[in-house]
Every structure is written in structure tokens, then in C-alpha cells.
Amino acid sequence: MNVKILYLYPDFMSLYGDNGNVRILERRLKDQGFDVEIIKRTITDSAITFDDVDFVYMGSGFESNRNLVAKHLSQFKDGLVKAIDDGVPMLFTGNAYDVLGSSIMTPERDEIRCLGIFDFTVIDQIEKRFTGDVVLADTKKNDVYVGFVNRAGVLKGEGTLEFYVTKVIGSVPLTKDGVRKNNLLGVSLIGPLLLKNHKIAESFVKTICERKGTEYKEIRYPHSEKSHDKTKKALLNAEV
């Protein structure tokens, strides 16, 4: 059976090895017996359709690129919103999920209108970057996520944000992070977070299997699990 991954802006939003997330998911879906087709759409495309796609991914980019994506993707908002409502699994990592909020304030005080799917705003500055390792608590799923944040700004609108930032090693002035709606997940962690958070990868694969009506096969990925355990231990033990 064929599974379609829609990879958004792979050459425009690809700052932190974000390709890893798509490749990890592709690998896991193939292990489930699917044929995987990756559809790439970018800033120069005049149409982006979300019909018939089984997974949507977008990674981080330069702030200037993200701002252009906010405008570009707005043209296709109806399709995206429908896919979210239909329960299509999606992952937006790093600053990619900023475009799903209501607006971005640039350091030059220009306000960029975003898609408005979630009720938060992003306020960027240019003095220093907010970088650091973080531990996130997902209280609804009773899980813990680990990874790295590398941002130019802060998020305002904690009420809509999903996870509690329980530990920071570095300087990340966030107490909450991430959004979730149906099967869409947005989180500030950069790079291939599916490697270090195997449960998120598993949960996406399970959802895709369910939506495809195939039975999910339990497959272990020991290196991924060990990486999660090691990282979590190191972060929880680290002095701040």
C-alpha cells in the first residue's frame, strides 16, 4: 500500500538536518510494509494540495525564509485546515510551527500575518539567539520529550501551548512550548527529533496505519531508544 508524505519547503526550511525526520519516518513506514512516496513542495510552487496525503512535514529555516513561508502557505490555508480537521498526521519542527500561529513580530517591528490556526504570536529579536537543550513534559500523553531549541524569538500565548518546559540547559526563555490539534504536532525542537523521541515516531506510524486500515506491527529501534534514554538522563542530571 502506498503512503504519501508531503514534505513542505525541503530546500527552503532545512536549517538543522530536518530531512532526518522525513527519512526516519519513511524508514519506519517501509518497515511496516508501505511503499512511501515523498512529494516535495516549495516556495516557488504555485499550488500545494493536501488532498490524499498521509503525512505532512515542515522543518526550520532562517527567520526570513519562515516569514516568506507564512505568506506563501497562507494561499493554501483552506486545504491545510481541512487536512488538519480530517486528522492527517503532521509534524512542524523548530520555527516551522510559528507560521501556524496568529502573527510574527520581526526585530524591525514588522508584523507578519500567519495562518491563525493557533492563538499565539512570535516576537523575534536580533540581540542574541535563544539556544539550549530542553526537556518537555507532555502531560496529556504522560511522556517526556528531549531535544534542542534554537530560536530568534519567544512565543506569547501560553494558554494554547501544549507542553511544559521542565528543564533548560542554555538560554531558552520558554515555560511552555508546542501545539497539538487532532494529529498535528508542532514543537520547537530542531532537527531529527524523531530519532531521540521514538515514541513520537511510533505514534505517527500507528496513526498512519490506523488511517490506512492496516495492522500496526510492533518493531523496536534500539539505537533510537538508547539515544532517547541517554539524552534524557544527561539532561536531567545536568547542572544548570
Binding site: D11, F12, S14, L15, Y16, G17, D18, N19, G20, R23, I24, R27, I43, T44, F62, E63, S64, N65, L68, I126, R129, T131, D133, V146, G147, F148, N150, A152, I169, G170, I190, G191, P192, L195, K196, Y221, H223, S224, K226, S227, K230, T231, A234, L235, A238
Partner: protein
């Protein structure tokens, strides 16, 4: 001169003298001077000639080569050679070289400047020339991404400076837009160039000015090459000084600059050649005759410690130093391995990403073109260190036969395996922060 400035100079000189007596060099004297007189830098009288160098890679090498050329040609040079890349450091070394009246005695002041340093220090004085060599993804956990760094460097550029820019790096070259008198250096079409982009990501895909797609006639490496924006007209600028050829035969490497100056070099790694070219260009612009600059460079062997040969039991090997969190440097080491046509093994060590900080961030591993090993004649791939699991997943997805891959938590374990089992030449790729872990268990011979 203000009394405070005089006191600051006095105190700085006294502490520096004491520190030297005790055999210690540090930026402590500058720290005290700054406490006494925070704007001490604008009180100093600098020589007519000052050159600052920045870029993601090769700042130290470039500065050392410029210093070497200028000194060989009879100039007295003051520079922050201890890598004291802090404002306290520059104060220390400038006062150390100045009279009690605050006049810097050297003919030239040479500064290695990272972007934050440049933004701060150039607020006090403007170097006459500012060399920008390259901008790419480097230690983004600390430095931020290239466009971020570009904006910080932008804050450090003033109208009275002359920029010396790498014409082949679009992000760097964009600093020269609408700036008369900018000097450009770059490479001609070289035999090792490619017409298609190699690498996992392409930071030259879109124009740094208008963000529309760019086209390349050829690539020297990564996004360095002959580019042209399809929309706004921004394109590679003609060069004032040019790497016209690069060749290697019987282990002797030579580059040609400006079509006529042949410079023997220890290794031809392309980005090392850019450092040489940058140093040559800066020196010529500063008034050294081109042939004299070329001649000085010919006699100069950079002590980089980047390559070490070793034996491990019966296994012969070579260590190629890269930088963690810098995919471009890894890509260049991978090229060395892939271009060696023997059957060989490769060990990748990622144990501590930095000596200074812990981070879980291994995302940069996904920016490195490990896929190149897939088609090379590789015997074994040995993945070692604390981040071996991250490496293992990365190599699995690079499509490399899992039978070739061995994973070890410890470098010692990996070394023991090689000693007992390996029957091929071994390349080790790692970073300065991890190199001692392997060098301490092998028999080594430093060659460069």
C-alpha cells in the same frame, strides 16, 4: 589624553609585565584597563594600516598567514595570536604594543574577529580593511545560523572600511552590494569543480538578497561557486585576485594565483586554498608586491595539526580533523577518504560535541554527506563515542550496508576492535575536542 586612559594603560602594562614574569599570558590586564577606562580602545592611536579577518572557517590560519607575509616583508605586526577573541584580549595586546601615550607602535594591527567581537570592537575603532572569508553552518548551537551571523557582521561594517570579500560565497559577496571600492577574491573554474550541487543541503539555492532561486555555472564546494540570481541580477562579482589553478602530483601540491604566481602548499584542501588566497589578497591590498606575497607564502607551512598518521597494532591509519557541528568540514574529510581508491575503513568519533558545553544536539550529522561512503570501496565503518546511537541511525538511513557498520560506546572499544579485526587502512574522522581519545591509544606521527 585623559588621565583615566593613562591610568588604564599603566595598570594594563604593569599587570601584563607581572603576568609575563610568572609565565602567564591572559586577557586579565585588558579586563582591568577596561574597568578603569571603558572606552580605552577609542583612546589608543592605531597605525594607518589595520586588517580584521572574519568567517566561519579559517580565521586563525588566514590571520597567521597575513602576519607571516607582512613580517617577511619587513613590517612590524601586532595581532591577537593567542586567539584572544574577546574585547579584553584586544585591549591587552594593543596596550602591550603601545607607548604610555597610547600610540600603538607596530606598523600594522591584525585582528582575528568573530562576528560578536567585530560588532563590539568596531564600535570603538574601524579597521581599514575587513576580510570576510566564508559564511556557513558552523556551531549553530552557539553561533546561530549563517544569515543570523551575516546580520551581526553587518552591524560591524562602517562606511570608512574597505571590504575584502570572497566573491564565490553569495552570502559573503552580498556585503559588497552597492559598496564602491570593495575588493573581491575567488577561484576560477577548477578541475575539481562540479556542475551540480553536492551535499545534503544547499545554502546557495536561493538568493541572499531577494530570496528567488539562484543558478550556478559551477560549484567549488558546497554553495561556493559561480552563482547568479534568476531575478534581481545579483551575481558573482569579477575578482581582483584569483586562484587560477590547483594541482597535485606525487604528493606535491601547488596552487597558482593570478595566473602567474605558483605557490607550493602542504595540502590542497579547497577551503585551505581560500585561506591562502584571502591572505594573499589582503597583503597585496595592504601594499605588498604580489610576487613578494606569493614568495612568502611558498615558504610557509601552516602548523594545523589537521592530519596525523598513526599505527594501531598492524593497522596503519590517518586522522583527519574536522569540526563537530560543522558539516562542511566533515564533507571535506569525507572527500579525502572517498578519493583514496584503496579499500579502506573509516572510524567516526563523536564523543563530546564540545569541550566547553554538553548538548544533545546532533542534528548537524544529518547535514553531512555520509551517503558518499555508499559508493566508495569501504571495508568497515566504525562508529564510536557517546553519540554512537545517533550515528548508527544516521548511517542506517544513508543506505550503507549494515554488515559493514560496527558501533562502540567507547573509543577504546573501537580501537581494540580495529587492532584485532581490521585488515585495511583506517581513516579516523573526528574533531579537536575528541582527537586525544584516539591519539592516546595509537602510535602517532604528526605530519602537518
Amino acid at each position: 589624553m585623559k588621565i583615566r586612559a593613562f591610568t588604564a594603560i599603566l595598570v594594563c602594562k604593569v599587570i601584563r609585565g607581572l603576568a609575563k614574569l610568572m609565565g602567564r599570558g591572559s586577557s586579565l590586564p585588558g579586563k582591568y584597563a577596561l574597568k578603569i577606562c571603558p572606552d580605552i580602545l577609542s583612546e589608543l592611536k592605531l597605525p594607518e594600516l589595520s586588517i580584521a579577518v572574519t568567517g566561519s572557517n579559517g580565521k586563525t590560519s588566514t590571520v597567521e598567514m597575513i602576519a607571516h607575509i607582512l613580517k617577511s616583508n619587513g613590517l612590524k605586526v601586532a595581532y591577537n595570536k593567542e586567539g584572544s577573541n574577546q574585547i579584553e584580549g584586544v585591549v591587552t595586546f594593543l596596550i602591550g604594543d603601545s607607548t604610555m601615550g597610547g600610540k600603538v607602535k607596530s606598523d600594522v594591527v591584525l585582528l582575528e574577529a568573530d562576528e560578536r567581537y567585530a560588532r563590539r570592537v568596531f564600535g570603538y575603532f574601524h579597521p581599514k580593511y575587513f576580510v570576510i572569508n566564508n559564511l556557513y553552518r558552523d556551531q549553530m548551537t552557539r553561533n546561530g545560523h549563517p544569515e543570523w551571523i551575516k546580520s551581526i557582521i553587518g552591524d560591524a561594517i562602517y562606511d570608512d572600511m574597505t571590504l575584502i570579500l570572497n566573491a564565490d560565497d553569495p552570502l559573503v559577496a552580498s556585503f559588497g552590494k552597492d559598496r564602491e571600492g570593495t575588493i573581491y577574491f575567488g577561484a576560477d573554474n577548477l578541475p575539481s569543480d562540479t556542475t551540480t550541487h553536492e551535499g545534503i543541503y544547499n545554502d546557495g539555492k536561493y538568493c541572499p538578497i531577494c530570496k528567488k532561486p539562484m543558478e550556478y555555472e559551477y560549484y567549488h564546494y558546497n554553495h561556493i561557486g559561480k552563482f547568479k540570481c534568476t531575478s534581481c541580477g545579483f551575481e558573482r562579482h569579477d575578482t581582483d585576485h584569483t586562484l587560477t589553478n590547483m594541482g597535485e602530483s606525487d604528493g606535491h601540491a601547488e596552487i597558482t594565483v593570478d595566473g602567474k604566481y605558483e605557490i607550493p602548499v602542504f595540502f590542497t584542501g579547497i577551503y585551505h586554498c581560500y585561506n591562502i588566497l584571502a591572505a594573499y589578497t589582503a597583503s597585496v591590498v595592504a601594499g605588498i608586491a604580489p610576487w613578494k606575497a606569493a614568495e612568502s607564502l611558498g615558504g610557509y607551512i601552516l602548523k594545523s595539526g589537521r592530519i596525523s598518521d598513526f599505527t594501531l597494532g598492524n593497522v596503519e591509519g590517518r586522522l583527519l580533523l574536522s569540526k563537530h557541528e560543522n558539516s562542511v568540514s566533515y564533507d571535506r574529510s569525507i572527500d579525502v577518504v572517498v578519493n583514496d581508491k584503496r579499500k579502506k575503513s573509516v572510524m567516526i568519533i563523536v564523543d563530546a560535541i564540545s569541550r566547553k558545553y554538553y548538548t544533545s544536539d546532533s542534528s548537524w550529522l544529518w547535514d553531512i554527506n555520509f551517503e558518499k561512503f555508499r559508493d566508495a570501496d569501504i571495508d568497515k565503518i566504525i562508529l564510536a563515542g557517546q553519540y554512537c546511537d545517533d550515528l548508527a541511525v544516521r548511517f542506517d538511513l544513508a543506505g550503507i550496508d549494515s554488515n559493514k557498520v560496527e558501533v562502540f560506546e567507547s573509543v577504546q572499544g573501537a580501537a581494540d576492535y580495529c587492532k584485532e579485526k581490521l585488515g585495511s587502512f583506517l581513516y579516523v574522522i573526528t574533531c579537536f575536542s575528541d582527537k586525544e581519545k584516539i591519539l592516546s591509544v595509537v602510535t602517532r606521527r604528526e605530519i602537518a
